[in-house]
């Protein structure tokens, strides 16, 4: 950096411009990192999705241009439409419905229930979220396996269990992801509920509003920004889930729990077709970008 005296003299001779530019210099390392490791891969992903670049062999060294072939292939093979559908199911059931609603319900219950109990339940919910994802995935795998805890419980109740990971792989990974991720929504909603002014609640109570009316006409509208922000974030997080599914089912059996990240991984690394793998990845990136734009807009509006 420049010494203070030099900066002052420079600034006084050429007012402002250079000095103001120089002030931005410390941002450079971050910009370089983001350009090299985030922007470049995204750009390369779009480029490679139009080629037949492979993991090994001739197409690895000298890939040729395919145009839209990879994208056309997506819709002629059953793998991609199925994975797209399963991704929608996974995000819809485990994040938008499961984590979001359970998180809100937990936050509401904690505001009414016993304080010690609330804290204990909070610790249990957060523990599943803080654990390294691979450990959480192992625990979920053991829980749903043929002689696992779930079937033990069903046995106690006199019911016959199933081999969940083979018979109902999507249900198993959806429940596992609800277990894994609800803590985030719970924390968001606890913070949001704490910000709802007490006097508004009191006024509604005075007017004779019942519990359900207070929830739907006062509480939920007041925390709608948190709800929207939370939905965006958990959707993005759930779109990217790979490890949980990979450890529990490796996307099987026969692709029955293969979501888009798992499909992109399999095409690129198991079948060595980086071109097709990046095409699948590019679709996922575009979906992420759409949600990202909406999310940024939402936050800007909330701030203005």
């Amino acid at each position: 950096m420049l010494s203070p005296e030099r900066r002052v003299s420079l600034g006084s001779r050429r007012p402002g411009v250079i000095r103001r530019r120089l002030r931005l210099l410390p941002v450079l390392p971050s910009v370089l990192l983001l350009a090299l490791f985030l922007l470049a891969p995204v750009a390369w992903s779009f480029y490679a999705s139009f080629t037949d670049v492979a993991l090994s062999g001739k197409a690895a060294r000298d890939p040729s241009w395919l145009g839209l072939d990879n994208y056309a292939r997506m819709f002629s093979e059953p793998g991609f439409p199925l994975a797209l559908w399963l991704t929608v199911v996974f995000v819809g059931a485990s994040a938008i419905a499961g984590q979001n609603i359970l998180g809100l319900v937990l936050a509401l219950l904690m505001a009414r229930g016993n304080r010690v109990l609330s804290r204990a339940v909070g610790v249990a919910v957060v523990a599943a979220w803080v654990l390294p994802e691979i450990v959480a995935a192992f625990a979920a795998y053991a829980y749903f396996s043929r002689d696992g805890t779930l079937n033990q419980l069903l046995g106690l109740a006199g019911a016959h269990g199933a081999d969940w990971l083979y018979a109902f792989p999507m249900a198993a990974v959806v429940l596992a992801n609800i277990w894994r991720g609800t803590a985030f929504s719970m924390l968001v909603y606890r913070a949001a509920l704490a910000d709802v002014p007490a006097d508004i609640m009191e006024a509604a109570l005075m007017d004779g509003a019942g519990g359900r009316q207070r929830l739907f006409f006062i509480t939920l509208p007041m925390i709608r920004n948190s709800i929207a922000g939370n939905l965006m974030l958990i959707t993005l997080q759930t779109l990217a889930v790979f490890t949980l599914i990979w450890v529990m089912t490796t996307g099987g059996p026969a692709g029955a729990s293969t979501t888009l990240p798992v499909l992109a991984y399999q095409e690129a690394f198991k079948f060595g077709d980086i071109g097709y793998g990046t095409a699948v990845a590019s679709v996922l990136i575009v979906v992420g970008m759409v949600f990202g734009v909406v999310y940024v807009r939402l936050l800007r509006e909330a701030k203005q």
Partner: protein
């Protein structure tokens, strides 16, 4: 929220309605507690297996109280190859990622916080947009990029990549923390002739060290738990962190050694549980809102 509800006694209510309202509130409280108990039990159950199996020399998939408490599983995994080398690799990766992240984020946050210009807002929103990229989606292209640049199986390159994936979040958090340090403290240092970066190091950073700690731990936890990135980018077993080595171990011995798998999982999870306990004291919100929800 429960306090105002209890305080909000309708003025017009006679004794009978007051009594029934009290009964209603008790019923709500009881229902809430019961529901909380059920959900809490459902969340604890999968974790219970981990604890019981680790202490049971004959553990399987099933959850059961060990017939005989035994530390044999822990003893079996406490070897350099199984545990110490992978854990050391995890420390290197996670700490390296956190340090790179913190340095880049502090440098970037300083001009953004202290010298706002017309670039500041667009830059911050682009960074926020960057947080929304699904990282698993870019792993295939990142692998391709690493092959081209000859970065594959390089620990420093992996550290820089992992740091970049959490950098957008870190920049937002760091800028918010820096914004809360009043500029007046710094102006005194400027008057004394200190340059911007000197003032940053001697005045601003010490005042925001708690915030920096939160950012550091936040990034460290993310990197420590990351499985997919090192799984793709690091090939030699001698460089792989615990997240990846535990997966290979599971693939090879999992069918027989569930107890050891559970013991390994617990030892590997302890550091992040402890770190989370440190940050969650008073700043759970900062942690959860790190996505910029409070912008």
């Amino acid at each position: 929220m429960s306090a105002p509800l209890r305080a909000g006694r309708p003025v017009w209510s006679g004794t009978t309605t007051a009594a029934s309202a009290l009964r209603g509130r008790r019923r709500i409280r009881w229902t809430a507690n019961a529901a909380l108990g059920v959900v809490g039990a459902a969340f604890v159950l999968p974790l219970l297996w981990l604890v019981f199996a680790s202490l049971d020399a004959e553990a399987g998939h099933a959850t059961r109280i060990p017939r005989q408490l035994s530390l044999a599983n822990f003893a079996a995994v406490l070897t350099p190859d199984l545990l110490f080398v992978p854990l050391a690799n995890s420390v290197l990766l996670a700490a390296g990622t956190a340090v790179v992240n913190l340095l880049a984020a502090v440098l970037a946050a300083y001009p953004l916080s202290r010298h706002p210009s017309r670039f500041t807002k667009p830059f911050m929103y682009s960074v926020l947009f960057g947080t929304s990229l699904p990282v698993t989606a870019i792993m295939v292209p990142v692998y391709g990029l690493f092959v081209q640049l000859n970065f594959l199986d390089s620990v420093p390159a992996t550290i820089f990549f992992m740091a970049t994936t959490t950098l957008p979040m870190a920049i937002w958090m760091t800028k918010n923390f820096m914004d809360s340090v009043p500029i007046e403290v710094e102006e005194a240092a400027w008057v004394d002739g200190a340059s911007g970066l000197v003032a940053l190091r001697t005045v601003v950073l010490p005042l925001m060290r708690q915030g920096l700690g939160v950012v550091f731990i936040f990034v460290f936890i993310q990197a420590w738990g990351n499985f997919f990135v090192p799984f793709i980018l690091l090939l030699s077993p001698s460089k792989q962190p615990a997240a990846v080595s535990i997966f290979s171990f599971f693939g090879q011995h999992g069918a027989i050694a569930y107890g050891e798998l559970a013991a390994f999982s617990i030892l590997y999870s302890l550091p992040v549980l402890l770190l989370y306990m440190i940050v969650s004291r008073g700043s759970v919100q900062a942690f959860a809102m790190s996505g910029g929800m409070k912008g």
